[in-house]
Symmetry: C2
Subunit: 320 residues, 2 copies
Amino acid sequence: MRQKTGDKSFALSLDAVLVAMRDNLPHVLLIEEGGAAGAAGAAGAARLPSGTFRPERHRTLEAALRALVSEQTSHALDYVEQLYTFGDRGRLKTSAEENVISIGYLALTKTESAENSGGGGSGGETRWRDWYRFFPWEDRRRSREIVEAEIVPPLRRWACGSADRIARAHLCFGLEETVWDEEKVLERYELLFEAGLVSEARRGGLARAEAWDGAPMRHDHRRILATAMGRLRGKLKYRPVVFELMPESFTLSELQSAVEAIAGITLHKQNFRRLIERERLVERLSGSARKTRGRPASLVRFRRALLAERPRLGLRLGKG
Amino acid sequence: MRQKTGDKSFALSLDAVLVAMRDNLPHVLLIEEGGAAGAAGAAGAARLPSGTFRPERHRTLEAALRALVSEQTSHALDYVEQLYTFGDRGRLKTSAEENVISIGYLALTKTESAENSGGGGSGGETRWRDWYRFFPWEDRRRSREIVEAEIVPPLRRWACGSADRIARAHLCFGLEETVWDEEKVLERYELLFEAGLVSEARRGGLARAEAWDGAPMRHDHRRILATAMGRLRGKLKYRPVVFELMPESFTLSELQSAVEAIAGITLHKQNFRRLIERERLVERLSGSARKTRGRPASLVRFRRALLAERPRLGLRLGKG
DNA sequence: TCAAAAGTGTTATCCTTACACCCATGT
DNA sequence: ACATGGGTGTAAGGATAACACTTTTGA
């Protein structure tokens, strides 16, 4: 669906990044078309649920987005937030479309209703995928060696002495005097793109070069996902959004691992708990969970009353 | 310029909120068409510089915006940031246009080049206007009585006992146990709109009812301005954006009043200075300013080197 | 000399970071 | 009993909020 204007045309597309936690990792709902959609996923790269805005059918953008996602993935949206409007998809030579304006949205949903498969009508299989599949360098919980071993060397070659490029690389990846800022997901992706280190940036199409550079996505969807990740990581700190991703009742440890998995860093246990308690974010339930080996943890739930009391407190994360 | 799709059409418009400081107050660049554009400004309400996106002429949205603003106001943009994409202008019955998607931008510029008048070609006079003209209740530096005297009574009548409405009013305007959050500019405007207390919400068109409710603007431009104000107020706290609005050299007091004028609140002098010093945001110049009566202040300038050192520190404002 | 504005010292309090340690349960 | 994870006490250092006070100029 293009809009005719005169001699050139453009489409207004809506794209959704739908996030849910599965196995304690943030997952994204994707549509994978044909091809070998296996581990490497070269030809049939995944895409986000998306479609063209038809003003004659929907009064608002958000209504259109909700309709579109439920058609394509048979999944209803709960929390929805607009991310950004991208107007330069044209820089990607892979697509035949010349002008696409796309409005990206972030949506959060609880795990319970987040079953796999499902498959809507529009010629593709819907799947939940760990978001670090597309951004392996963003998970700093176990190791940080991807950056040091795989990213820094080619980045230095690309910078080849340019003070500006070196400074940007340091800022983005927390090298030398600077620190890793988990919110700079987009900046890092764009830098790698500019340096030709992610497959979307290479002429050859979407073929994946290395293991460390992450699975590619169609169009500029990986950029939209990066925007969503950065936004969610940032929002964690000043709005209680994690709870949109948690089940009704959970333990404090589960909450902490969820936050850690989203932010890609580890946190200090006692400080995290003190924060939760001070802000009175949760209330204790009677039961206790005896899922794992050690001492059973007591169950808590999000204090919904909080939204009415103190609007703007989330979890400002500290250091591990 | 509309885009034909089938039976219905829509336009994609770009709108710019261009901000500069004049006389120590944030001002916005507006286009005022015909009518009595005097103090009350009823019929010929102001509008933001805006125009339709033509993909055949501009490769990116931002390029189109820059071109558009310089055409309409003969003013070049420096700092530019996308705000939000609004898709439900249809709720305003005042306009003949049925479907308008508008992408709002925030732009900042230094006072020096911000001369008044200028007047571009597109049938209207460009003027800088104090932004509190449109949002009188947002300036809490001198008095807070607009909210108490003018806003609360009609809001209570509108809420008429609904617990939800009362809670929202408290949250937005910092009543009872809650505190005034200077960033909630949009939320406050939308609440007043919903309660029918701003003229854009009333059937009769743009006629202004009271003095306290602020001057109206065309279309949903006041909503876009509210978004810009909230965003700028928020961004002050974690990015050094004030400096985009300051002249090359300035005094610490001038800097403080600028921040206060933007945020609409007063700050504690020593704490503000300590913050500026600790973050090493400025560097001293040799000269000193002898503009006003008292002791001359020493001049400083923004330490541009900071942008390379520590990316994300702005001024987190405290209480007065 | 006095008012006005610039600029500094000091303190109580809270938040952050980090250490080490105890508790309850399954195997 | 002991490994495993849940849960707590306490203390150093830094940031915040708020006092009051001195200094330098123009009128």
